[in-house]
Symmetry: C2
Subunit: 334 residues, 2 copies
């Protein structure tokens, strides 16, 4: 398996083959000015014949535009983020942009590394779901003057557009639904206190007037199981659990199953973030659903606007409560 000669067809080869200058080839390829239809066809023929494809690196170096957006998400295997990534990519592609997806794995270090890598590659814009509040990476982005949009989560003093889903009302509704079903002591499997979503969801839910026990997880599956275990082992066990993220919800479910506890008879359950399989469980899980696809689309649009020199406003979508059954029935008592 001798490696074929690496095809090094450059614009120069095309020019030579077509009997024109490289400048002309470039003009034809970029639809610039107006080369004669005849030269145009000659050049295109040469391109075709040689199978020429322009070197995007060289082009970007010269034009300082890569037609590429960077997307840093906190966890690729979290379906919530996977869906967002897909939506972002879809919207970007529709506008002729390509997306580089980087996976920070909920680690601040890796986030910084990736932000740097993406900046080094001169992405035209950056979309970030911050892993933590740590804003050290922000300075680098701002210094380089690269358009930035935050997605899902915020960081303390970011002066850039933010796209998120507001769950305040949904969380209030959830609190009401829990009360209506007779729950008072509720165990919360919260997100990390150093993430905006972790804090906010907890805070907003806390306004619901329930008696909360809180354990913080890290938005991942194992932490959900651990947190559930801790809450269930407490002396006055909560009558319901609320997981503030779908993966932690999954972990909690696993723990409940391990203990042979029935939902909602033994303990109620609600989860932030809907998943297609939640309705399939018995009972189907009550959730707070976020408009992930819209979030992704909106974020990409905002970033592209920013890249184009506009000043997009923040986007605030709304999450909504979907009552299914895992919290129990509302008792007749008001």
């Amino acid at each position: 398996m001798i490696e074929g000669v690496r095809s090094v067809t450059t614009i120069k080869d095309v020019a030579q083959h077509a009997g024109v200058s490289t400048a002309t080839v470039s003009r034809v390829l970029n639809g610039h000015a107006a080369p004669t239809p005849e030269t145009r066809t000659r050049v295109l023929a040469a391109v075709e014949e040689l199978g020429y494809r322009p070197n995007a690196l060289a082009r970007s170096l010269r034009t300082t535009s890569t037609k590429t957006l960077g997307l840093v998400i906190s966890d690729l295997v979290n379906p919530f983020f996977a869906e967002i990534a897909r939506a972002v990519e879809e919207e970007a592609r529709a506008h002729g942009y390509c997306v580089i997806v980087a996976n920070a794995d909920e680690s601040a270090d890796q986030l910084l590394t990736y932000v740097r890598t993406l900046l080094d590659r001169r992405v035209d814009g950056l979309l970030v779901c911050p892993a933590t509040d740590d804003p050290s990476w922000l300075a680098e982005v701002e210094q380089r003057g690269v358009p930035l949009v935050l997605l899902d989560r915020t960081v303390p003093d970011a002066s850039c557009p933010v796209v998120r889903a507001d769950g305040a009302q949904a969380l209030a509704d959830l609190a009401e639904a829990l009360k209506a079903a007779g729950h008072q002591r509720v165990g919360v499997i919260a997100g990390p206190p150093d993430t905006s979503t972790g804090r906010e969801r907890l805070e907003q839910f806390a306004r619901g007037g329930l008696d909360l026990r809180v354990v913080h997880g890290d938005f991942r599956r194992e932490s959900g199981a651990r947190a559930a275990a801790e809450l269930l082992d407490a002396p006055d066990r909560p009558t319901a659990l609320v997981a503030m993220d779908n993966l932690m919800g999954l972990g909690a479910l696993e723990e409940l199953r391990r203990r042979g506890l029935t939902v909602p008879a033994d303990v109620g359950l609600a989860v932030y973030d809907d998943q297609p399989w939640f309705p399939l469980l018995d009972p189907p899980i009550t959730v707070i659903a976020q408009p992930t696809v819209e979030m992704g689309h909106a974020a990409a649009r905002s970033l592209l606007a920013l890249v184009a020199g506009e000043q997009p406003a923040d986007v605030q979508l709304t999450a909504r409560l979907v009552v299914r059954g895992s919290c129990g029935e509302a008792t007749g008592a008001a």
Copy 2:
């Protein structure tokens, strides 16, 4: 919000600031040769002070190496591929490589587009999960002489390393398990006939000696529901369904639920690809589990070996049957 001056710190600025030539700066940054410790520190100080970061585009243009791998997957929201993507990226990162993930959305057109885009950006190697058998994109990759490794699926005449999971034994085991549980007429929700995995899984399962009804889906959720509906509406309804992919399995489950059919009492079910939530269903779903993480790691390793000029062999991992309960109990009768 006046946009700050886009920081254009180049190697020239660093050189000037440190009172050396650009060549020296480059040498320091690349650990080349041996600049005096003193100049070295002076250069590094300048780098630090100016917050200089090399332009990866320019560097790659010159060195013809991007330290980047391209990964084209068929569907980012399919957790199977998401997990593979994560594993690939993890392994690549450990070797100092960055991964550009492209999502073909099970479309051959989009796959071709992305392969081109990635080649244009001069990735050092390409990892592809082909959406279909259509091998038109292959020629372009080979012509450019870019190292290529196929992942999960094959295409007809690819002369490159392939990393996959062999499910022949698992499918045979599944057939046995179904028979043992008293199933004879089995409905198969197969993958597209123009994908290697679609064909192979069906073919291998067909060797199990069951009476099969086959409907082809497209590896996505909706098609799973449609196929299930079709199979269940047939005059002699199968007593069990087998979905050859987790998303189609999800769709099938939804359809069963819609019809109020109980698993496994009314109809048995098994799915190819395990998912963390399958054990949580009642009854838990019997699956064929693939070693996704290992596949991703192996694929990245193979590609990196190829990039390094070695000749990695094909990797054949094995999928295995995990019997849970959704196919019913084995009856005493042999």
